[in-house]
């Protein structure tokens, strides 16, 4: 019966063009439903956020200087009147029913609810039974891509000027899949896993990121001359994705070439996408080019949300003394705002931060100044107040 109706409608629409148009529109609407991988790039989260609502975000202050810099960031956000409500959680591991230490359930529920988190530096406790907290968070929220934009800060001079590189790294598999065996005594094998799904996901994210942030080139970094099948698969996924984004330039470079050229002239690279290990090393190297981990933001994008963090250590020697530099966490928070499409607020906070560093009147110890964290924060807040209407 249904078949008859369908064929009847088809025949009718062929003769009546307006009716045909109506039916086409109906079928088009069906096709705009989410295709396989676009949920990641479309940021299903973002679609339900309207600019007039107040959003809830989880904040994990962390250890050491974590609480101070988190407080600084919250103060700056308040000064910029960002429509965010913070929900602070503690991820100190608790002993679960299986005896292993894990993240408390309340923290997991909070991030699952809010879908967006900001994390300060965490100290992984030493001892048996403690899994790496970062690894646990990554597995819990399926964080598949790590984004680290490295930009030279005006006012903090390094050997490299005009660095503006973004490293996008696959975060779940690759060399760090953790599959290792001792085959015989004295011979160990470690497995590097590359899957088509993960590679495609991160490649799509890379191109989407490039397009949205108005960048122009994506470079895939690989070693396919040696690891032909694994990096070859990664490259193939990147190439397939490149065809879907014809206005973004795409090139492939060997890892050695990228390393060699990056330390001589970093301006030739724009966005880099790569598997886990190369990404780990290159992103830290690029952070070193601009001034270290204390100035580099970092974001982890997942299927179920995103987690933005500062990647420096807990610096226990200056904890509690109001000497910490909140720049890394602040820039990560700005990344978070852009992810949530709050670009106006993001621009104001970012430009105020850069202006304060350029002015060089209030610089913290690691940038070569003598100001306190609170003075630095206040200087930024003043600039925000001056900039806001």
């Amino acid at each position: 019966m249904a078949n008859f109706t369908k064929s009847f409608l088809n025949n009718i629409s062929r003769t009546l063009p307006r009716l045909r148009k109506f039916f086409d529109q109906l079928t088009d609407k069906k096709n705009t439903a989410e295709t396989e991988f676009s949920s990641a790039s479309k940021r299903a989260v973002g679609s339900r956020l309207y600019s007039s609502e107040v959003k809830k975000c989880t904040i994990i202050p962390g250890d050491g200087i974590g609480p101070e810099i988190s407080a600084a960031v919250q103060k700056i956000f308040a000064a910029a009147k960002v429509p965010i409500e913070w929900e602070s959680v503690d991820v100190t591991p608790v002993r679960g029913p299986d005896g292993k230490f894990g993240i408390p359930q309340s923290a997991i529920d909070s991030v699952n609810r809010n879908k967006i988190g900001l994390k300060g530096p965490l100290m992984t406790p030493v001892g048996k039974g403690h899994r790496s907290l970062n690894l646990a968070l990554r597995k819990e929220f399926n964080l598949y891509a790590n984004v680290r934009p490295c930009r030279s800060l005006e006012g903090y001079k390094t050997l490299y000027d005009h660095v503006d590189v973004v490293t996008i790294r696959e975060n779940t598999e690759g060399e760090y899949s953790g599959i290792e065996h001792e085959i015989v005594d004295g011979v160990v094998q470690s497995i590097k896993l590359i899957t088509e799904d993960a590679s495609r996901r991160v490649a799509e994210f890379a191109f989407q990121y490039t397009k949205e942030n108005k960048r122009h080139k994506v470079t895939a970094v690989h070693k396919a001359n040696i690891m032909r099948m694994s990096d070859g698969l990664f490259l193939r996924c990147c190439r397939d994705m490149a065809e879907k984004y014809p206005d973004v330039k795409f090139e492939e470079k060997y890892l050695d070439t990228v390393c060699l050229n990056m330390v001589q002239d970093p301006t030739q690279y724009d966005v880099l996408v790569m598997p886990n290990l190369y990404g780990d090393i290159l992103s830290d190297m690029c952070a070193g080019l601009v001034g270290g981990l204390g100035l580099t933001p970092s974001g982890n994008i997942g299927l179920n949300g995103a987690l933005f963090e500062s990647v420096h250590g807990t610096a226990p020697d200056i904890a509690g003394k109001d000497l910490a530099n909140p720049t890394a966490l602040l820039l990560s928070a700005v990344m978070m705002l852009r992810y949530m499409n709050l670009n106006k607020h993001a621009d104001i906070i970012e430009s105020s931060c850069f202006a304060t560093i350029k002015e060089a009147k209030f610089l913290t110890g690691d940038l070569g100044g003598k100001a306190k964290c609170s003075e630095f924060t206040n200087a930024i807040c003043e600039k925000i107040a001056a900039a806001s209407p």
Partner: protein, 376 residues
């Protein structure tokens, strides 16, 4: 006379048994001939020359030119070709001559599968260590002045085992192999090398937090060897922190000791910081065989036929080879010529920011050598 023939016969037996097996990687058995001197015919050494692709043929011919000018007593046995045949001929020749100089060899995919001659030659000849010495030249632009770093890198196993398979459609596994035997040999070589050349500190680079078994064993084995060398300062560092530190403060390091892939990355970083890939050479060492090439092993495709490539890298490889052969006066002569050309005459090719051609650099080097010979 007959005792000189004996080692060569054992070599041939080993060559036959190895070439008839299929595995490209296995725990290499040590070729331990009696210590015999390097082959010498009429006072002249015979070395293998593997020109390869890209700028390899041009650069290795420049080495021959300069050796002729300096009257170095070295003859070259040139091995060319592709694929399996090239690997077979190269290995036979290098086993006979025990010393070689090479360019980058072409990787091919033919009916035998994926042939990567560079990796295969290193593995089959058991060249387990790769040493590169990065020393900045005065008056040559480098991001950091006065750098003097040695990188000792594992050369046969690790990520370069060429063992990959696709277990399920869309899922590829690549194996990284680390053995205690190779790591121990590597560590002993590194510490002996450091002692011989007056180096004071060795930094081991690893990622044992994430790769607990493989890099963990690597680190532990090296720590055990380090106990026997209390005169050399020893420290260990994670690879990401090391790369960051190299970019911000490379003077912290003296000798870096690393597994295969990390060594590749760090070598390229340090090379870029010291002046570029046109200047430095690398030495592959086995128990009894040595192969010399340019440090970063680049093909230089974009420089072919344009007369702008920097010949210094391959010339330095030639100098290292002369030193290995015991021809220290000729080595010193050519080194001085290169130094003079780069620092005093400042004849720089475009990769160093200059405007001169390859032939300009070579003429200047030849001129210096001839001047010195006239004085003697």
């Amino acid at each position: 006379m007959s005792s000189r023939l004996l080692p060569r016969l054992t070599h041939l037996r080993q060559v036959h048994s190895e070439l008839t097996t299929n595995s490209f990687h296995k725990i290499p058995h040590h070729i331990k001939p009696e210590t015999s001197p390097l082959p010498l015919y009429g006072g002249r050494h015979l070395v293998t020359l593997l020109p390869g692709i890209g700028i390899g043929p041009e650069m290795t011919s420049h080495v021959k030119e300069i050796f002729a000018t300096a009257q170095a007593p070295v003859d070259f046995e040139i091995i060319e070709g592709t694929g399996e045949e090239l690997v077979r001929n190269a290995i036979t020749s290098v086993r006979r001559n025990r010393v070689a100089i090479k360019g980058n060899l072409k990787s091919v995919i033919d009916e035998d599968g994926f042939i990567a001659p560079n990796v295969m030659i290193r593995t089959k000849l058991d060249l387990f260590v790769y040493v590169t010495h990065y020393k900045t030249y005065k008056n040559v632009y480098s991001k950091w002045p006065d750098l003097d770093l040695v990188i000792v890198r594992q050369n046969t196993e690790g990520e370069y085992a060429l063992l990959e398979h696709e277990s399920v459609n869309g899922v590829v596994e690549s194996l990284k192999i680390v053995t205690r035997e190779n790591t121990e040999r590597l560590a002993k070589f590194a510490f002996e090398h450091a002692r011989k050349h007056g180096r004071r500190k060795i930094t081991v680079v690893h990622k044992s937090k994430q790769l607990e078994l493989s890099d963990g064993m690597f680190l532990q084995t090296i720590k055990n060897v380090a106990h026997h060398y209390p005169d050399i300062q020893f420290e260990d560092m994670y690879i990401d922190r090391c790369c960051q530190k190299l970019v911000r403060n490379p003077h912290h390091f003296d000798v870096l000791l690393m597994p295969n892939l990390y060594g590749n990355i760090a070598s390229n970083i340090v090379c870029g910081l010291s002046g570029g890939s046109g200047l430095f050479s690398g030495m592959n060492y086995g128990e009894d065989i040595a192969i010399f090439e340019s440090a970063t092993r680049q093909t230089g495709e974009s420089f072919v036929g344009k007369n702008i490539a920097n010949p210094v890298a391959m010339l330095n490889a030639g100098v290292n080879m002369l030193r290995h052969l015991g021809k220290s006066e000729h080595a010193r002569l050519i080194t001085d010529a290169i130094c003079h050309t780069l620092t005093t005459s400042r004849v720089h090719t475009p990769d160093l920011g200059g405007v001169h051609s390859t032939t300009d650099v070579l003429s200047e080097i030849k001129r210096y050598i001839e001047d010195v010979k006239h004085l003697n």
